[in-house]
Symmetry: C2
Subunit: 494 residues, 2 copies
């Protein structure tokens, strides 16, 4: 049949001569008849050959075509689901359906305004500590005795500083959590407030810890050579300024440094593009959740209620694709679009907010690479110091995950008004998973990496995420019923 392309090829190649056609065509028979006028005798089977898919074949063919096919099938399957969804539910997107209570918005804004004030408090605490430190250093011509005395004085003052910081930081988190849990009904608004509070809390801690060590370094410079060179442009007490703190407050990082690498200028076009991406993706996510995630979640409630395993599994799988897309879009919107835009505006130089976590060959690599800001905070202010105090790395890591598990539960449990601990145990569950997959990083050849990568995707995106979402949604429904008033005409078919 195939000869047509040859034909066309030949035709194109201005040679009406068939043999040339064949020659120029990709397909010339192993031994070509020498321009025989007897065309029916050509020996097309002239040598031993294996099928390209046989084990015996010398070279395995490329399977790139199948990759293209996979993409197409995925598109087709999802297009079909979209059509099916519309045929079942029509258009579910309606802004009015969401009941944003006035109170939620007011309280939310108040929290947003008040939370950063705690950073101001932290600044004042640091300022006093800094002046104290300056005085001690100020006195010239010190003897060793005096130096030691200074140390003692400092050692005795630190606890107070520490106490004040703890009080301040904890207050920030506690108040927000309390208000969100008891007075802000809408989970969306609640989550935003809670997220903001946690971020500021982390920044608070970093600010306090870093300045403490800087102060120590100042008090006995001899003891330690190890202050990064980059700080030299702004040595310790000089960094305790409102401006410096404000920069840290807005900068896309949770790790305080007196000095950060900076970009020479702001490319506003870059900012605009990133913001456009963010807005676009945010809307995309909203549409997806309203049109696809919501009905699936709604339909799965009775299934969970009766604990029908088969249908729960079916629901989780249906949800997994949607939640996966939402997750990926959300990741890109936050870590690529928003943080880059923010960084550009702040001329913040280090844009490594993530590395290629999607290739993670183990859960460990994933947690190291997907959320760099949090990872760096945990490493600098929790893991590293604990190990420095002689904790075993394992114990220190346990601590890290316990802390982040608590924060995760606060972030999800409080806005949804349900401390069901799924987020907490989900995080804690990472420890065994990491231990399990860690060996795969070491495996030679791609095999191990692929397996590890698949374990990561399945455990995290295809099962963990949707299952978690289902459970919190179920808990919510059990407590309040639907967030969005269901339109009466809306069927609840699976």
């Amino acid at each position: 049949m195939a000869s047509l392309t040859e034909a066309i090829t030949t035709a194109r190649e201005e040679s009406s001569n068939f043999t040339n056609g064949i020659v120029s065509g990709t397909e010339s028979p192993p031994s070509k008849p020498k321009r025989s006028k007897y065309r029916h005798v050509a020996a097309y089977h002239s040598k031993l050959q294996h099928s390209s898919l046989s084990r015996d074949a010398e070279t395995t063919p490329s399977f790139l075509g199948f990759r293209n096919l996979m993409v197409l099938v995925l598109v087709a399957m999802n297009l079909r689901l979209i059509i099916e969804n519309f045929m079942k539910y029509g258009v579910l997107i309606c802004i009015k359906c969401h009941d944003y209570r006035k109170q939620d918005l007011i309280l939310g804004s108040i929290l947003y305004a008040s939370v950063p004030c705690h950073l101001l408090v932290a600044y004042i605490i640091e300022l006093s500590a800094a002046t104290a430190a300056k005085e001690t250093v100020g006195r010239q011509k010190k003897t060793e005795k005096e130096k030691e005395h200074d140390q003692k004085v400092f050692q005795s003052t630190w606890p107070y500083t520490a106490f004040l910081h703890t009080l301040n930081a904890t207050l920030c988190l506690a108040v927000t959590s309390f208000v969100v849990y008891f007075y802000i009904h809408h989970p969306g608004i609640g989550t935003l407030c809670q997220l903001h509070a946690i971020i500021v809390w982390l920044k608070n801690c970093s600010y306090a810890f870093t300045n403490r060590d800087l102060r120590l370094a100042l008090l006995n410079p001899a003891a330690d050579p190890g202050l990064p060179d980059i700080y030299s442009s702004c040595p310790y007490p000089r960094n305790i300024t409102i401006k410096n703190l404000a920069y840290f407050w807005l900068a896309p990082t949770l790790v305080y440094q007196p000095v950060y690498p900076r970009t020479p200028s702001i490319r506003w076009s870059f900012v605009a593009k990133r913001l456009a991406e963010f807005v676009g993706l945010a809307m995309f996510i909203w549409l997806l959740s309203a049109q696809y995630a919501a009905p699936v979640l709604r339909n799965s409630i009775d299934k969970i209620a009766v604990m029908d395993i088969a249908s729960i599994l079916e629901r989780v799988m249906k949800l997994s694709t949607i939640s996966l897309i939402i997750w990926l879009a959300g990741f890109f919107a936050l870590f690529q679009a928003l943080l880059n835009a923010l960084a550009e505006v702040m001329q913040f130089g280090d844009r490594e907010f993530y590395t290629d976590w999607w290739n993670s060959s183990s859960l460990g690599v994933y947690w190291r690479s997907w959320n760099r800001p949090v990872y760096l905070f945990m490493k600098r202010h929790v893991f590293s110091p604990l190990v420095g105090r002689g904790w075993s790395p394992l114990a220190a890591s346990g601590m890290v995950f316990t802390l982040s598990a608590v924060l995760h539960e606060m972030l999800v449990g409080i806005p949804t008004h349900n401390f069901i601990g799924v987020a907490f145990f989900g995080m804690m569950f990472q420890l065994p998973l990491i231990a399990l997959t860690a060996p795969l990083e070491k495996v030679k050849g791609p095999q191990g990496k692929v397996i590890g990568n698949c374990i990561f995707w399945v455990s995290f995106c295809l099962v963990g995420q949707p299952l978690g979402a289902l459970l919190y949604f179920f808990a919510w429904q059990a407590k309040y019923g639907s967030v969005s008033r269901m339109r009466p005409d809306m069927p609840t078919v699976v």
Copy 2:
């Protein structure tokens, strides 16, 4: 959070020292604190970096992880559909439901036995022609005059030979088609008979054409040097034996050669494996069609009847995945498993029954590579001779596709008792598609190839196949109603 793996890494690497841990870990901060005892001051942001997904990034990261994800999502989505299917229909597979009529089986077996006899007839025709040729050649010391006379004689005899062959071959095809169309109800049995008849018909043609040219070459050897060397071990008249023909009859090729490349021995283990693959895949296909394809087809009938475009589209898409899997499994079962097993038993050396058609960058490449036996037949006995007679390659190719379109319609239309011409026009439609995609083969860089490959997959596997299946099924239903008695309790929900 991530530190745990470092932890584990560290722990594993017998160094309880954190700094070493970091060093040995994949993650060491750009400028590491020089074993500072002040751990909170480490400068983790110490140089300008871009996000790896940004345009500015020096190197684009690998996206292998996303390939793995695609595979997983495909598996998950289809698993879900399987569960959904069972929840809707339960188990649909039941052997009794199929009504194999006794008559069908009897007639089918008779046809299977009778069809090869036509090859025997072809042999007898060739034998007489060969003896005639031998006589003419036999006489020694020929003058040019005599030679010309011989030519004339031969030229005059060929039409009779040709006529007999045509009669014989056509009879073979005509009788089978007649019986299948009017007396064999079951489309499965019908297709098998029809396929067998077409194969034998093609072998018949090849046998006749090849021997004609061999005879010509024998009668004036001077005229043409071009007999393939591989034939020398069995020069013309010696190849006209029952044994030689029987081998061609059973060999996995449609192109007759007096001699084929042969393998030294039969590896029975190889044969067993291939047959196991074939049986396994055959059952797999049967299960798929019974459990998944059948209900989808059944549910789409009313949609087609009322010509509801949206739902027809939805049906075609739902069908496409299934028909695609069936198609791929069928290809592997026939071209890899069965033909290789057959070739091994026949010690047939040239196993190139297909090349990597899945990477086809155009429809033309696809038709050249997916079904080599038919492609080689068409090229050797239709395209090449026509071009030899001065046809334009385009016209010759048109001829090739018209012929194969006719054969396709016979293969599908006759067993389903519906000449609706979809198969025919489906094949003819390939001509414009090939012309359309041919330029993409020439495009530099992967871009063009990917586009061409996608056009191929969509046009052929995602739309062409399922749409064709739908239409023939619809025609069948319109004429006879369901093939398998539907169980009364079986719902026909979408």
